[in-house]
């Protein structure tokens, strides 16, 4: 458990470092994810080492967004001033993106349903 946590944090740290050093437009944690995927594929990191910690974090991932969402309360004034274009733009566009992305994948994917 601790071992997995250490690995995740070290990879995040390296990712953040690369993102800052190279002034990349990608956040450090996403780079950390890519590096971890690479390390697993090459065999530098064994799945068993981090599986427990990763499962724990992923099962609570939704909760980690709550404080960011509560931050919305600071901008109620701003949102209420132009609420119609803001809310309509956000809501309609979210459904448009889901439909376009899903349909594109469906159209091009010839592999059919994956087994669970």
């Amino acid at each position: 458990m601790l071992q997995g946590m250490v690995l995740l944090l070290v990879f995040q740290f390296i990712g953040e470092g690369l993102s800052a050093l190279l002034a990349l437009p990608i956040p450090g944690n996403v780079i950390g994810m890519a590096l971890m995927l690479l390390a697993l594929s090459v065999g530098w990191v064994k799945l068993e080492w981090l599986q427990e910690a990763a499962e724990l974090l992923l099962s609570y991932m939704a909760m980690f967004f709550v404080p960011a969402g509560v931050g919305v309360m600071l901008y109620f004034d701003l949102i209420s001033r132009e609420w119609l274009p803001i809310v309509a733009g956000t809501v309609i566009s979210t459904f448009v993106v889901m439909a376009v992305t899903g349909w594109t994948e469906k159209l091009l994917d010839k592999h059919g349903e994956s087994e669970s």
Partner: protein, 231 residues
């Protein structure tokens, strides 16, 4: 008493308690509008407003919970690695699906807001709304959007995808697990992904991949459009 409210203990305990209750409510009722993230956010805001507790006090603990999002994103490498064969088999549909999604997000969000009379900076703030928070904030700042508004709309988008993303996808004929995961992850980043992870590991892994790739695609496409149609 006030020291207790400004210590991280308050924000952490409150978030965990409310989230636990919201999760129970969701499990008992199974009602999709009772998405635990959305219910927790609304409940905590109401509670802080009613008790006149400033957001900053809550956030002393809140930011520690938010911190765990970083290693969680790195942890998404695990389900991706476990499903690598099925993902590699579909690399073209996945990549093109995400590029199409990123383009449609930028155009539809800005277009609809502009048509409905949104002001210039508000229109720009909506451009990166489907992208994960850290990337969205960077894009918004670069093109002259209102950064906090972008952050708020990213969360709203995520909650929307978590509340009814999978239901909407099935309604419009997106049923395969790969297409569903890609659609929800591209449109509603980590919050939508978190719901999928709880229901279906494969769709969740694809959604996790979509968070990173859509962030990358949007971060590259927006400056390009900016050069072409410059503001």
């Amino acid at each position: 008493m006030s020291e207790l409210l400004t210590s991280p203990l308050f924000g952490i305990a409150l978030t965990l308690l409310i989230y636990r209750l919201a999760e129970l409510l969701y499990r008992r009722t199974g009602f999709i509008l009772f998405n635990p993230v959305a219910v927790s956010i609304v409940s905590i805001i109401l509670l802080l407003k009613l008790c006149h507790i400033p957001y900053q006090d809550y956030n002393n603990g809140g930011r520690m919970i938010l911190f765990l999002l970083g290693p969680s994103v790195v942890a998404l490498a695990v389900p991706l690695y476990q499903r690598r064969q099925e993902i590699l088999k579909r690399k073209l549909p996945i990549l093109l699906g995400i590029v199409a999604g990123a383009l449609s997000s930028i155009v539809s969000a800005a277009g609809i807001t502009w048509l409905l009379g949104g002001s210039h900076r508000v229109v720009l703030s909506l451009v990166p709304k489907s992208v994960t928070t850290p990337i969205a904030i960077g894009i918004s700042a670069k093109i002259g959007g209102i950064v906090p508004l972008t952050a708020a709309l990213v969360v709203l988008t995520g909650c929307l995808g978590a509340i009814c993303g999978p239901e909407f996808c099935r309604l419009v004929g997106i049923r395969s697990r790969a297409a569903l995961g890609l659609a929800v992850g591209t449109a509603s980043h980590g919050i939508g992904t978190a719901r999928l992870l709880g229901e279906d590991r494969f769709a969740g892994a694809i959604a996790g991949l979509a968070i990173g790739l859509n962030g990358l695609a949007t971060a590259l496409i927006v400056p390009l459009l900016w050069l072409l149609f410059g503001g």
